[in-house]
């Protein structure tokens, strides 16, 4: 598996999730575990540039994919924008929010034309219990334009 641009030899059992493989076997702890059920988005990573929930992905299923986590996107203008707009508090959802936003901007036909409501709907797979939603949307808007 390629993780953040380097080839990783991973010898994991088939029942190990991509998230646990990253966090517990490779020490890549940027992606977070908030629910382990696909219900929060904290584990969002990019697989060949497409955002997915690593907690519901079996690592073996992604053996031939290029996985990019928050560590691998650094530096990205969204990171600075998140800081400037205070798009986080505790920071636990942040890796997922940023990876998701990158995937979301890739998906959009015209990112610059996205309305606030569209950004909110498209980002709704990423919960933020601290409620930093306003800052997150502002940061994404700034980078999309």
């Amino acid at each position: 598996m390629r993780v953040n641009g380097t080839d990783e030899k991973l010898d994991v059992e088939p029942w190990v999730s991509l998230l646990d493989a990253l966090r517990e076997r490779l020490g890549v702890t940027g992606p977070k575990k908030g629910c382990d059920q696909g219900a929060c988005g904290a584990c969002t990573v990019l697989a060949d540039g497409v955002r997915i929930n690593a907690c519901l992905a079996l690592a073996v299923q992604y053996a031939d994919k290029e996985i990019t986590t928050i560590e691998g996107v650094t530096p990205h203008p969204l990171q600075e924008a998140f800081v400037r707009h205070d798009g986080f508090q505790c920071g636990y959802c942040t890796s997922g929010q940023i990876c998701s936003a990158i995937g979301m901007l890739n998906e959009a036909e015209d990112p610059a034309a996205l309305t606030d409501a569209e950004i909110r709907e498209r980002m709704s797979g990423n919960l933020c219990r601290c409620g930093a939603y306003n800052g997150i949307v502002e940061a994404i808007k700034e980078v999309a334009r």
């Binding site: 059992e13 088939p14 029942w15 969002t44 497409v50 073996v60 299923q61 998906e107 797979g125």
Partner: protein, 329 residues
């Protein structure tokens, strides 16, 4: 998760062979439902046959105007497909109303069809559940039933089928193509899922060794749309959803398709309502009466009694919106 063997066949024949010889095997699509259920200890396959390497991930136009959708097309890809967006907006909207962008990027058409109920008592191994363990009883009855069904239920099980996509497919007269070592079968989507009766663990007419290979759509019907009502603005399962297509000529309903989600153990094609509407006046009053007729056999519990009224309101609103849309076009 209970340990299991993992295989990833490269062609369909190999895939169906793999499950034919291994009774405890399960296909794995995007994994968004199966991996969750395995982790919870509810699904315990001995072998997992990963089908995502199969060449079933394309959408083709059919002669005569229909569409053939490979079973491994990702939900997000299908929703964004130009033909789907223009000719089958109800399908695109239904998919986009479900889950989250990340999950839709992972989820496959085949897996979506076979996703299991979100009944909380099904999910909690501490509860009694006939679907998980035939004959064990049903703790949902008498418990929290907000997510549960009012139509097509039995004393054994009142769980809903949670899919949004399938509700649209039911309205569109989709046909599911399945394959096993015995050959290929075609099953109309409305007959694909079955009501619980006293065997709620049997959810479809699919045999354990059959692989879903494609879903086919007949040529697109009249203007269509999907409306989903849920407990938050996004990322929640339907309390009630409506897939509808409507064609009105001179104030009269010339064609109508109606299917409901969130209210039944299967994607619910509202045949009775359609029958009443067809050829009648396209008025709110008629919509309401048709909805009432469809919902008349409802069996409600204290926690989901509101769904009849909500379904009626949502059906009426969706048909009204289609009329407005038609007039605008």
């Amino acid at each position: 998760m209970r340990p299991f063997a993992y295989v990833k066949p490269a062609d369909v024949a190999e895939a169906v062979q793999a499950v034919a010889t291994e009774p405890g095997a399960k296909f794995l699509g995007g994994g968004t439902n199966l991996v969750d259920l395995m982790r919870e200890g509810i699904e315990r396959p001995h072998t997992v046959v990963d089908v995502t390497g199969l060449p079933l991930d394309e959408v083709h136009e059919l002669p005569g105007g229909g569409l053939r959708i490979g079973a491994l097309v990702r939900n997000s890809v299908l929703a964004a497909h130009p033909r789907v967006r223009t000719s089958y907006p109800v399908l695109s909207q239904a998919i986009l109303a479900g889950a989250s962008a990340q999950l839709r990027n992972m989820a496959t058409v085949g897996g979506n069809l076979l996703q299991r109920t979100r009944c909380p008592y099904f999910y909690d191994l501490a509860a009694a559940c006939n679907k998980r363990e035939p004959g064990a009883g049903c703790d949902a009855i008498g418990g929290f039933t907000r997510s549960h069904a009012i139509l097509g239920v039995s004393d054994s099980c009142i769980a809903t089928h949670p899919s949004d996509m399938c509700v649209a497919l039911a309205a569109l007269d989709a046909v599911v193509e399945v394959r096993s070592v015995r050959g290929t079968r075609r099953i109309p989507l409305v007959d694909f899922h079955v009501l619980p009766g006293d065997t709620p663990h049997v959810e479809t007419t699919l045999a354990a060794d059959e692989l879903i290979t494609a879903v086919e759509l007949p040529p697109s019907p009249a203007p269509s749309r999907y409306r989903k009502v849920r407990d938050r603005a996004s990322y929640a399962f339907a309390l009630v959803s409506v897939a509808a297509a409507l064609e009105v000529r001179d104030g009269t309903v010339a064609a109508v398709r109606l299917a409901l989600g969130g209210v039944a153990p299967k994607p619910w094609r509202a045949r009775e309502a359609e029958r009443l509407l067809l050829g009648g006046p396209a008025t709110e009053e008629a919509f309401r009466q048709a909805a009432d007729a469809e919902l008349a056999p409802a069996t409600a519990r204290p926690g989901n009694a509101f769904k009849s009224g909500l379904a009626r309101a949502t059906i009426t609103a969706t048909l009204r919106e289609l009329i407005i849309e038609g007039e605008a076009a």
